[in-house]
């Protein structure tokens, strides 16, 4: 057994048993972050904080929510919203948080794409981050089922039907996923389980992995500079803070992060208190009815771009396009053939690729919200979907001919 001296303080007592001083040093006080970054580098901690808000508000909602097709709608819209003290607050934080978390995820993703933060040892950061995007998407979808309103029901119907694989007509698989011929009790209870247990566990695991993947390659910086961390850390620890290219995660980087978080949470709570309705679709305030489809079904804004890729094609082609669009971002580190780690503005054609991709995804998002009947918008949607695939096909070629910086 290890030899223990009498501890002189509570901190020392814990340090003897858990090595907390070592942990603090490795995880915070000597975890080095480059100085050459901007506010976009705060999005990771903003996401972590938003996830925290979702967990806390979710715990309170879970105390009154009833995962039963006859009770679910009222347990949300009557019990939680009118009876439970401050129940409305948890629901609005949860609804707004679920929507805003995707805005920050997209900013975080496109920041990574712009600065090339997915290559030369940083591939796993990108892949685990994309894993988180998929897990959050599943979490958002399963949560959307729970109020059991019209949009819940019909989104559940349409999305589970995607698994029939078009002409494969795998309705057995669809019924297996639902546990019934249509979304019903078995469907609601299993999506409830996914939403409150399995998917949150997956997300927490992936967050730990995502942080872990940052450790060895370190976080990127505004110029993609390859920093000598040992040298920079030595300078900082010697007190030569000015010449060192790095700052410690705690307290210096976190202080800046918390400032950005402060600005973010002002916006967040402005939405929670004054504009929560943008995250609350009015159609979902009608209880689920399996015999009446709402006039126009559309997903929440953060799924619109991929929904618009599904829509303009024939059924099978649409499904294939949709499936590819869902996973193609995973391939980014392998389709970008250029060795340059640099902001897109310094990377020749990639600069245009980046802005074209960003604008295309925005156009797809706007078109996805419009009804399918207008020919002009349907054509814009089709062209944007084709541009999306053309950009991905072009990526290896334009990055191959990119000049090495």
């Amino acid at each position: 057994m290890a030899h223990f001296e009498k501890a002189n303080s509570v901190g020392e007592w814990f340090d003897q048993r858990l090595a907390i001083n070592t942990l603090k040093r490795v995880l915070a006080f000597e975890y080095w972050i480059p100085k050459n970054i901007n506010f976009l580098w705060a999005m990771g901690m903003v996401l972590a904080a938003t996830f925290g808000m979702l967990v806390v508000s979710g715990i309170f909602l879970l105390m009154y929510y009833q995962p039963n097709v006859d009770l679910a709608f009222d347990s949300v819209n009557y019990t939680i919203m009118t009876e439970v003290g401050y129940g409305w607050l948890w629901r609005h934080i949860h609804g707004v948080g679920a929507s805003v978390v995707f805005l920050i995820i997209y900013i975080h993703m496109f920041t990574g794409i712009y600065y090339g933060s997915y290559k030369k040892g940083r591939e796993l950061i990108w892949l685990s981050g994309m894993g988180l995007f998929v897990a959050f998407s599943a979490e958002a979808f399963s949560g959307y089922m729970l109020p059991w309103g019209q949009m819940s029901y019909w989104a559940g119907m349409v999305i589970t039907n995607l698994f029939s694989g078009g002409s494969l007509e795998a309705y057995g698989l669809v019924e297996w996923i639902r546990g019934d011929y249509v979304p019903a009790q078995a469907f609601l209870t299993r999506f409830f389980m996914l939403h409150v247990l399995l998917l949150p566990l997956v997300i927490i695991g992936l967050i730990v992995l995502h942080f872990g993947t940052l450790r060895i390659p370190h976080v990127n910086n505004q110029d993609g500079e390859d920093i000598d961390y040992e040298e920079a850390a030595r300078l900082y620890k010697e007190g030569n803070v000015k010449d060192s290219k790095v700052i410690p995660f705690q307290p210096v980087f976190l202080a800046k992060d918390i400032f950005v978080m402060g600005v973010y949470f002002i916006l967040f709570f402005y939405l929670v208190f004054y504009h929560f309705e943008f995250a609350m679709d009015p159609v979902n305030f009608d209880p689920a009815d399996g015999l009446k489809t709402p006039a126009h079904i559309y997903p929440e804004w953060y799924f619109l771009w991929s929904y618009e890729i599904l829509r303009p094609f024939s059924k099978d082609l649409g499904l294939i396009a949709f499936a590819i669009a869902q996973v193609i971002f995973f391939a980014l580190p392998f389709l970008d053939k250029s060795p340059n780690v640099a902001p897109a503005s310094k990377r020749g054609l990639f600069k245009f690729w980046f802005w074209a991709m960003l604008i295309d995804v925005l156009v797809l998002t706007f078109m996805g919200k419009l009804p399918p009947t207008d020919a002009l918008f349907a054509n814009i949607g089709l062209i944007s979907a084709l541009v999306f695939f053309a950009l991905w096909i072009a990526l290896p070629f334009i990055t191959k001919i990119e000049k090495k910086l």
């Binding site: 119907m157 349409v158 639902r178 546990g179 078995a186 399996g290 024939s314 399918p372």
Partner: protein, 167 residues
């Protein structure tokens, strides 16, 4: 394999995976299956003696909407019609074959129109516009006098199925 201990490790791991892992996966798969009570509650009888021409009735079978439309004389006869006496009925599962929304019946155009992605079907359930890849499906039915029993395969349904008119 470098030594006995590695061998024992692999053997134990492999054995556990085969006799423990595979049955566990099977049990998990079966737990996700539709319950027997869900599968058993599968029959609906519809009396069509009072049906009005060109007026859509929507019934419910296995949680899905069922379209029953008595055809008027000016509507084209179709191999998929359910014939009872001298009357012809269009009977189908009222879910768009694209992604499962319920199309609405527009009676003066004799058309089913789906709001989700713009698909259209004629009064016999054939797709005429938009993304639906196949006609509206016909549920298994049996004719019993003026009653249509859904969930049972009568001779008329079997004939349609053999002719490939529905899945």
């Amino acid at each position: 394999m470098s030594n006995r201990r590695d061998f024992m490790g692999y053997a134990l791991g492999g054995f556990t995976a085969i006799i423990g892992g595979i049955p566990a996966l099977y049990a998990m798969k079966r737990s996700w299956d539709p319950l027997p009570s869900v599968k058993a509650a599968g029959f609906t009888s519809i009396d069509v003696s009072g049906a009005v021409e060109n007026e859509l009735t929507v019934e419910k079978w296995r949680g899905k909407p069922i379209f029953v439309l008595k055809k008027s004389k000016d509507m084209k006869a179709d191999d998929r019609d359910v014939v009872i006496g001298s009357d012809r009925f269009h009977v189908s599962i009222g879910l768009c074959t694209h992604l499962g929304c319920i199309p609405a019946y527009v009676s003066d155009e004799h058309k089913f129109k789906c709001a989700c992605h713009g698909g259209e079907f004629d009064a016999s359930g054939h797709q005429t516009f938009g993304p639906p890849p196949s006609p509206l499906e016909i549920p298994p039915f049996k004719i019993d006098g003026t009653t249509i029993v859904l969930g049972e395969e009568g001779p008329e349904f079997k004939k349609m199925k053999e002719a490939g008119l529905t899945v």
